[in-house]
Symmetry: D2
Subunit: 346 residues, 4 copies
């Protein structure tokens, strides 16, 4: 931690800080520059942050040097984490395709979408039973009935399921059906939900908040990790910028940056980033090439009647193009596609 | 609703849309331009949105013309709403000052802050018992013990209390103590929380999401209103931009814009916007002059030891300057300060 | 300047930096923390920046502590600057209203707008003869003919003129007509233009780039100052954000922040910020109340036929409201309106 | 063009618009909805934009439906443009690597960098003789002496040169040396420069403004095209967002979006986007996979002493990794690397 003093700070101001830090069991090293003095603190940073130094006389700025997360930091972790979702790995030597409908609507639609996903190379099925929507007048999901549909489709296809949970008090219920819990972009700082997910005993996919910094995203993951769950997958899904040609701006750099700061796998959602079907394929290629540990893609048998995000769901020729691409590009960049689990008894 | 067709759209594409809209009980008016055709739809827009038009062949764009919120819209409301918080009005002919500590820490600190607030002209007391924090290692609030402290201080000072609730399942408890529920910026799209707050029978202050558009903010208010509660106060608290000289960028224009779109009162939080003590006074003046229905300001008897946001809390000379300002500027712009309630029995 | 070393940096890495800085005539103070080491540098920062330290082995980050501008910094300047525009002050004890048409179109339109401006309390006339437009198909201004119109209207009304220059090679010509040169938002980092304006012997109004940080804005002012011209007025005109309800987001906090960092006057353009007529009055009030040294407002006798930005130009009742407001609010916040110059011979 | 009327608009308001449009030779089609009326205009949109409709009574909004650029639009162009830079193609069936030093410093440094570039697979050499810098105290480039160095290195290596021009009045001089003119991010809306570049008879690389929308970028290209030059290459180099972990946020989606809207080639600058050496390789892979027509990369023989942007310049093992990657990935996604020109007489 570095304290930057204002140009008009007095020696007394500086001495007060040095003493305070010493009292708190730390050490303060003073560097007097031509126009400003800086003070470097050594010791327990969490404790220093409670000392109110930023509000002390003569202080211009307080800079934190070390990262504020610990459990999810790469610094304190030997190797990259591979998260197992009912036996399907995310991270490691392969690139995992997750696909499925944005929302679970009917058993038929969900099964059809799952078959499409599987035929395209997906090893995990996504699908939402609880949908957080900007408008109270929009479709909010089927709830537990949707979870049951997902479970039935898993039985039929062998694909483990990833599904969103939007309220801390639904976590136990959702976890009883799901193989992986998804926390959505609007809930990235719903701390009660993060903590509940951290205690649920299932892997968690944490979408980046649409205007969260990478540091805030990792701090949100730290909330989950703190409850004892390190099976966390980070999902970049586009951030909010001034550009309106796309629904969100996919922050492709966030993949290598987050992989460098954390040991957790990082995947990309090319469907919600661009918000348009014809961007899904190029953005998927970019995600795989940049080194993402996986991608998560919307598919739907009838996008024109989808209750949620139809314009970005793949079908027909677009899905075939995705299937052809994931069969080759991941291997070409050194991480072949994660194979689907062989269902028990097959 | 206006459908913009792609330049390459065919007559068949256009006819399909016209027919679909007619089947749904609406009417479609086609305007063929030199390079593009547009189709204006008349009828039930919510129903049109379920038709999947955006995904139909030949469609380039779908523009929504009318606003997507109803209950909070100024269009459908005769007069501006005045929200009464235990008898203290927000909105109407006066400008309301809400003040208090960011977090409730001890009975003494809370009472001292409340007395400071009252002496500065505040008619409502703010203070957080539940604190959503970016870091799991930061102080998270006293919980119910904090609510009890607030209730005791209300008893002593006569100031009704505004306090944050962060989880849908705490709403009933918090509402049993609070005079007004606050929903924070990170929870603006926590829809379960919005709905619970809408059913709690207490006025709600809804802070704008730090990267929410004004339309999304009003949609979030619509979630509360839909549960039967129109006693909602909107609070602008700064948005996230590229500028880092301030903690957030106060979107001062959002006050007249939201007042023009909605009948709800709009207040400003100059403390969290700027994040620095020396910005609170100028931003408070700007908020009052722009026409805000109130301001909400952090005060603390000992900012240097505050457990939360000390650097922005007012004390001493800064608080006296605020008091002097609110005694005159609101009246100078036509809306004198809302007086504090006279406690019963006095 | 503070060097933050990576956790894996070696003692050799640290020694190399210390030696390099010593060779360059500076001093380096090392603080070894639990997980990281920081090095504080004392000496000539501009020289340190040429040493390539950021690219050296073991370096994680280089933080600049002192501000990178000098001539425009408040730190090195005794008092706030008052800029005189042909005798009309900007800065100091009064608040200056600048008004006029966005673009000079005809002598009649310009004179009518100037009379409107004067009657509303303006002491300076704005008007563009060179217009930078996003589209090559939009009106680009009258050029020198427009400058002559402005000069004629100045003769008639006594109002000194502020007008934009868009190319370094036009500066001499524009300066031969203008009392103050305006540099627009798109040219804030047109360094050749800044330097030419710095040598022109006329005061300069520097609009903030629509996505420039306050620091970059002050660095742009430093380019002008470096050529010997400190008669610079900074103009906040809104920044680009995700919010689309307004044309730009007026960064009202930038006024006190820039006034705190620099000795230069800071004014506000409420017309281009909001982009809508009904926002001009509330944003003008906010600007005056926050402490701006002036405001610059679009007026036009016939906004419906304006060749540029008609929707935001004031006329009729809106202009009367502005006139009434600037007659009282500035004085109420302690800085009465700057009076118009009394023309010579009157 | 679509006019959206306010809910309170009268029939007279609507009639006035219909008549005005008719007088201007256009046609207006009125669609009366439940709460609002919209008017679709057919005819000459550029003319309609001069009518001041947005400022007329009862008008809530004016929406432009067709794109405002023509010459660079894909709609009006049969096939994708391939730009030839002294015989080296950008666009078409191959992916072009441009590489070189950020700034020309000395003949030795430039030649060394060019040899590095060539060995990595580059077919074009980049290098700046004129450098626009945020600080007036930073290195501003060698000017014409730098151009001569570039010309000498071209002679030696056979690599055509791409170099920046920052002032309209330097265009002729720079074009007399360069094979391609580069217009930088800060000058994207320096319209005098765009027009001069359009008349220079050399291909132009137009970097996207750091906070420009894709539409504004294409409008800037239209300025060049309007002067008769369609040999334009668009270069995405990152946009400004709230995220500070990277210097800019590479908008990878801008590549397919701009390729879809325009017939011009689109390349990516992974060096300036990320601003860090270890991001160059993953972002280059992403750019190639997303379908960029080329990439432009900083290399430097001694990054630690580079006068400009050393931390992002490739050297040694990083450059070898780039060379290995461009030898295989472009071909794997269907567009092999553009070969270097065989020098005449070889």
């Amino acid at each position: 931690m570095v304290i930057v003093m204002a140009p008009e700070a007095t020696s007394d101001n500086i001495d007060s800080i040095v003493e305070l830090v010493a009292t708190a069991g730390g050490a303060a090293y003073v560097t007097r520059g031509v126009s400003r003095t800086i003070i470097g603190l050594v010791g327990d940073i969490e404790q220093f942050e409670t000392l109110g130094i930023a509000a002390m006389a003569g202080v211009s700025d307080v800079l934190r040097i070390s990262v504020p997360y610990k459990l999810v930091s790469r610094e304190n972790h030997g190797s990259r984490t591979v998260v197992s979702v009912a036996g399907v790995p995310i991270g490691g030597d392969t690139m995992t395709l997750i696909a499925g409908p944005c929302a679970v609507e009917t058993p038929e639609q969900t099964l059809a979408a799952a078959m499409m996903a599987k035929s395209a190379g997906a090893s995990l099925l996504r699908g939402g039973a609880y949908k957080p929507r900007s408008s109270p007048y929009a479709f909010q999901g089927l709830g537990e009935a949707g979870l049951q549909i997902l479970a039935d489709v898993r039985e039929e296809t062998g694909l483990p399921i990833v599904t969103e949970v939007v309220d801390a008090h639904d976590v136990e219920l959702v976890a009883s059906y799901a193989d992986m819990l998804q926390i959505g972009t609007r809930n990235m700082q719903n701390f009660a939900l993060l903590q509940a997910a951290g205690e649920a005993g299932k892997p968690v996919m944490l979408k980046r908040g649409m205007s969260s910094t990478i540091e805030e995203w990792l701090m949100a993951a730290e909330y989950i990790a703190q409850r004892g769950n390190l099976d966390i997958v980070l999902c970049e899904r586009g951030i909010r910028t001034f550009e309106k040609a796309t629904r969100n701006t996919l922050d492709i750099s966030a993949v290598p940056v987050a992989q460098n700061l954390s040991h957790l796998p990082v995947i990309v959602d090319p469907s919600h980033s661009g918000g348009k079907r014809d961007l899904v394929l190029p953005l998927s290629r970019a995600a795989i090439a940049v080194g993402a540990d996986g991608i998560i893609v919307d598919v739907h048998p009838h996008p024109e009647t989808a209750l949620c995000d139809g314009p970005q769901a793949l079908v027909g020729a677009d899905l075939e193009a995705l299937a052809a691409m994931v069969a080759t590009l991941p291997a070409a960049v050194g991480r072949p596609l994660t194979p689907a689990r062989v269902p028990a008894g097959v």
